[in-house]
């Protein structure tokens, strides 16, 4: 018998009858590779568990405490950064209207109407501009390019949502 069936028997840990076992024993005496296969299998079966140094669990507790403290600090600094950034942004956005806030009620109404008109005209202009762009681009861009564009926008939105979710979530047990 050639070498291959013996190798398969060894690799598949096949259940052998007495005759097959004798044939295998005879083959093992002449085939160094199959002998090595048997030896490594035997050594692997006899390998022992490596044990961690004593006090593993208490070292883990220390590491966990350090990690929790670092996490708390990261969250604290993050919340301060976002609060300050948010306040600064709001102040910057509101700065043109702050002067109006201290003016007379008539000026308030005028400013309100002005803002309303601005919003409505901006919206109208955006819709018209969008329609023109879609109309013009529709002639040049093939359908697959639209699909790529829409998919990219969806992908970026998803990435953005996941990033926000990962940042704000609080893992259970921490």
């Amino acid at each position: 018998m050639n070498h291959q069936p013996f190798e398969s028997w060894l690799l598949n840990e096949a259940a052998l009858n007495a005759q097959q076992q004798r044939e295998l024993d005879s083959h093992l005496r002449s085939c160094a590779y199959c002998a090595a296969l048997t030896k490594t299998e035997k050594v692997l079966r006899g390998m022992k568990m490596a044990l961690p140094a004593p006090g593993f669990a208490s070292r883990f507790q220390t590491r966990l405490m350090v990690e929790k403290a670092a996490d708390r600090q990261r969250k604290f600094l993050g919340s301060i950064f976002f609060t300050i950034s948010g306040l600064a942004l709001m102040l910057w956005l509101a700065s043109p209207y702050l002067a109006v806030f201290f003016a007379s009620p008539a000026s308030w109404i005028a400013a309100l109407v002005e803002v309303g008109v601005f919003l409505v005209t901006t919206l109208q202009a955006s819709v018209e501009a969008g329609a023109v762009i879609f109309d013009v681009m529709g002639r040049f861009m093939p359908p697959f390019a639209w699909m790529v564009l829409v998919s990219s926008i969806a992908g970026v939105s998803l990435l953005w949502s996941v990033s926000i979710w990962r940042f704000v979530r609080v893992p259970q047990g921490v």
Binding site: L37, K39, T40, M47, A53, A57, G173
Partner: protein, 201 residues
């Protein structure tokens, strides 16, 4: 409900004490996998600690219908595989790292035949070193099979492979180990023979 499931549930509800019990229960399995994967006790300790930390942080994702040990070993194996890949990419060589001394098993003083035990230990040490030459995923599969008695299905689940891929990786690993063993044994045998030869030869 068994103790482990109770500890897992309590840990998921925020009990650090329950999680510590889980650490105590599984530390040997996790450490052994990391040690066999990385080859050094210091890296293994760090990887095992990191595994438990990741398990703690992701405990809310643990599905109680699965085995907790399998889930933990899956985290450990993936962490070690990533670590070995990063190490491969880094500029430092494995040889430099190995020089700081690999720690092997301590001889069993209760062994009735110290010489045979010493030979067996030497064989285990050789195999431990040969294991480091296998591909990371193959190594993880071998460790799960031979140290943790995992079935092909459990290994496939832990390493996110198909059962046939696990079988093929285990066969490939065993062939590679046997080949390396044979290669190593040949010069060793020649050297041993030479010691007994006459200087005239």
């Amino acid at each position: 409900m068994n103790d482990e499931l109770v500890w897992v549930t309590q840990a998921q509800q925020g009990s650090d004490e329950a999680f510590t019990k889980l650490v105590e229960e599984h530390q040997t399995h996790v450490y052994n996998l990391c040690y066999r994967m990385l080859g050094e006790p210091e890296s293994a300790e760090d990887a095992a600690q990191e595994t438990f930390l990741r398990a703690y942080q992701n405990l809310h994702r643990y599905d109680q219908s699965r085995s907790f040990a399998t889930w933990l070993l899956s985290i450990a194996a993936h962490y070690c595989i990533d670590r070995l890949r990063r190490k491969k990419l880094s500029v430092f060589s494995m040889d430099e790292e190995r020089e700081d001394g690999t720690v092997f098993e301590i001889a069993d003083p209760a062994s009735p035949d110290p010489e045979a035990e010493s030979t067996r230990r030497e064989a285990r040490d050789r195999l431990h070193l040969l294991l480091q030459n296998l591909d990371q995923t193959d190594r993880a599969a071998v460790i799960m099979r031979y140290w943790h008695d995992y079935s092909d299905v459990e290994i496939a689940e832990s390493l996110q492979l198909t059962v046939s891929a696990v079988k093929s990786r285990l066969h490939r690993s065993r062939r590679a180990l046997a080949g390396m063993w044979q290669e190593e044994a040949a010069p060793r045998a020649r050297t041993e023979r030479r010691q007994h030869e006459s200087p005239a030869f």
